[in-house]
Symmetry: C2
Subunit: 459 residues, 2 copies
């Protein structure tokens, strides 16, 4: 629910920020960061401190080089959890912004904030990122939340006008096996890449529904009666039909084939299966059943969404979205080139001239041998960080980039490109799997840009 007074404030501040794009106020502010020593301490504000935001808070609390100076959330319980976490770490309690959906705009007005990390429901990602860039705060934003091509363009336009960097917080690019394979790709072990697959295959039924108290596998409620992601994510499965969560798959693939850096996505076509999984989950759950009110819900999201993408340099990409059926977790990576291929699901690879002809080999010895130098250097620090350590590398890169006001490895053009997959796939499915075209968000600059992601052991 929007608060009218704050809505007015928001419009005012947007307008002012819009004006600032012509006058270089914010640009100067952002440029100011360049002159900071890369070793100085930065001040971070958190917009959204739900369970995901708290992961990031936790990682920042372990660092000497960043201070959490502001947090914003509309959920008091999540704010309390975060404050406790901060106290326990011996840090000062930051300034709190809460009370309504636009409280984040007040946080963005704080002069002492260098950077923000946005970990809110998808619906807010673009709006908050645009406001953060306009406020001149180095912007880190959690993954997914593409609804329209227009808002992807809005991210790009806002960045170009403000020159504020946007770091798209895609953690899977830092997964240890994904980085070892990147290392192998760069050493030409797979030859010229031809075909890639990835996606998000994760049984989220127990995330989309819970008992409103505990986040996982505890019931069949959602929305106002749900907790954590069940409060908002489930609505997307009810109303939308498309590749809703493309970035964990496409982020690493984009690194392998240098998307927006000498290559780009041209077009995609998507296909959706029927939807059965979530309804069955409600019907068969001990707390659900055929007479439960949610048993009458209709879900638009097909249980399996498959998307094929064609690239400018001739590669094909397949994305698998599969979150409503019982299954083991698998991002389903496949990296295939003229010299061989890796597949994540069978933990195996084949390299011509090295592997026995026509035979798989266990990938692990290769993953060990080609372990990325970032992982070799920072392994100890990564231990215990979220999602198998990759979240450490993500936040480390974010903080180090902010400290240098450096262009992030996954920038606003990547954000726009990867996010665009969702509305494009919805469009394609609505049109009976028609191919739909990717905009070139870089306006031709992809041709000359180089891939600098993880080119050394620094961050």
């Amino acid at each position: 629910m929007e608060n009218n007074i704050n809505r007015r404030k928001f419009i005012q501040s947007s307008t002012l920020a819009g004006a600032a794009l012509i006058a270089p106020t914010h640009v100067t502010k952002a440029t100011g960061l360049i002159h900071k020593s890369p070793n100085s301490k930065i001040n971070i504000g958190f917009i959204g401190v739900g369970l995901r935001g708290q992961n990031h808070v936790d990682l920042c609390l372990k660092r000497e080089d960043c201070a959490i100076v502001a947090i914003c959330d509309i959920d008091n319980d999540m704010l309390d959890q975060t404050k406790k976490m901060i106290s326990k770490a011996g840090a000062s309690i930051p300034k709190i912004f809460t009370g309504n959906d636009r409280a984040y705009l007040e946080l963005l007005q704080q002069e002492n904030i260098d950077a923000v990390i946005i970990s809110t429901p998808w619906r807010w990602h673009t709006e908050m990122s645009v406001a953060a860039m306009q406020a001149g705060k180095y912007t880190g934003v959690e993954v997914c939340g593409g609804f329209s091509l227009d808002e992807c363009w809005e991210l790009v336009r806002t960045h170009e006008a403000t020159q504020t960097p946007l770091f798209f917080l895609e953690n899977v690019c830092y997964r240890r096996d994904v980085m070892a394979i990147l290392n192998m790709v760069r050493q030409d072990m797979f030859g010229e890449l031809i075909h890639l697959e990835g996606g998000y295959q994760h049984d989220l039924r127990g995330v989309k529904f819970n008992d409103g108290v505990t986040p996982y596998n505890s019931g069949v409620e959602y929305g106002d009666k749900g907790y954590s992601e069940a409060r908002w994510r489930t609505h997307h499965s009810i109303h939308r039909n498309g590749e809703l969560y493309p970035t964990h798959g496409i982020g690493p693939i984009a690194q392998y084939i240098n998307i927006n850096r000498g290559n780009r996505f041209l077009q995609l076509t998507s296909m959706a299966s029927k939807a059965r999984g979530l309804h069955n989950y409600i019907i068969n759950h001990p707390k659900g059943g055929a007479t439960h009110p949610n048993a009458t819900l209709k879900f638009n999201l097909g249980d399996k969404i498959t998307t094929m993408i064609q690239c400018s340099n001739g590669e094909t990409v397949v994305l698998h979205h599969d979150t409503s059926l019982p299954r083991p977790y698998s991002l389903g990576f496949r990296v295939q080139g003229t010299k061989g291929l890796w597949m994540a699901v069978n933990k195996s690879l084949h390299i011509e001239g090295i592997s026995p002809a026509h035979r798989w080999e266990d990938a692990q010895p290769y993953l060990d041998k080609y372990d990325h130098e970032l992982w070799k250097r920072h392994e100890q620090k990564a231990i215990g960080a979220g999602h198998g350590g990759m979240d450490f590398f993500l936040i480390n890169a974010f903080v180090e980039c902010v400290k240098r006001n450096e262009r992030p490895p996954f920038d606003v053009y990547d954000a726009a490109t990867w996010l665009a997959i969702t509305p494009l796939s919805e469009q394609s499915i609505a049109l009976g799997s028609q191919p739909v075209m990717f905009p070139d968000f870089t306006r031709g600059r992809w041709i000359n840009q180089k891939n600098t992601f993880a080119i050394n052991d620094l961050y």
Copy 2:
């Protein structure tokens, strides 16, 4: 090269056969078979006795219930090999038809032939099948060879006019794991099926090219200078771009989701990667190199062709075609429903309520437990037959169906539907991955037909 005299003969015989469709000559002939005792011996003619045809000859020689009375090929070497094989088995040398491309028409005029098995290059499959049905011979035809929707219709129309059965010889439907999974599907172990994958992922570089003497991995020649499949199959990689070999993947999938038996394919969209594999093979082969004449060949066939198919009952299917890159053999099956999934590549499955939550299990104990009754009964006879025993079941079913003049498990409608994938995928790729529609070759009869494939342990 066409022989004009034989061409005239062919036209005459076609015309006569066409007339016969109105007069019931051939229908009577076919119907005549119905009255044969199912235990009687049948006479088979072989059109095409190259390496694949010889597999089938070998299996027939081991049986008491069929006699090889005629063989046809234009390759004397292959004829000699086959005659030796027949002599060695102690059987009589059959009548030989050879000398020109239409010699098979003379074979089809032999009164004593009950059935034919066609194992020729793709280009001949439809033409020979049509002539065989017109001649009233129970027709078995090897897989693939779809070039146009019209010839798919021609197969259907010819069958409907002559009532001669056509058995599409897709062997992978009889693979032991594929049949165990069919058993599990029919026992509702995977629930309602949602998404399926399959395809043909087989490094054929050493098949598409050889030294003209030995069939595999022996050189970089093809066409007139090649041997066996390299003589003809390679041309398709040079000239065409599409899902050229869909049936090993789609045959089993069609059984799982009852295609043409309560379900049908509605549409597909295909995407092709760039083509690099075959050129690289020539360049890097010890007998090839950058100066070899074949180094200048251009290949139209993308190294990886991906096809998505939508079904009337809401399932999605993905087909993978991948025959020009170094890789281990894998048909890549995935069978996924509301209760779980099987994947062939990691030899694993997950069944809700049985497998540990979110975990894979080794598929083998399930494949053993749900071993199909056909395999249990005939295992000993299958040992040593081609392709891991599945060829025994294929030829066994063919012979038993011929003996009863029974409708084959994979009939002319299946042949047309499965073959249609190739021209449809070529069309889709040529149109930039546009969706293209499947004809309903059954003209609505799919709605009421039942799946009777392997419903008992007989054949």
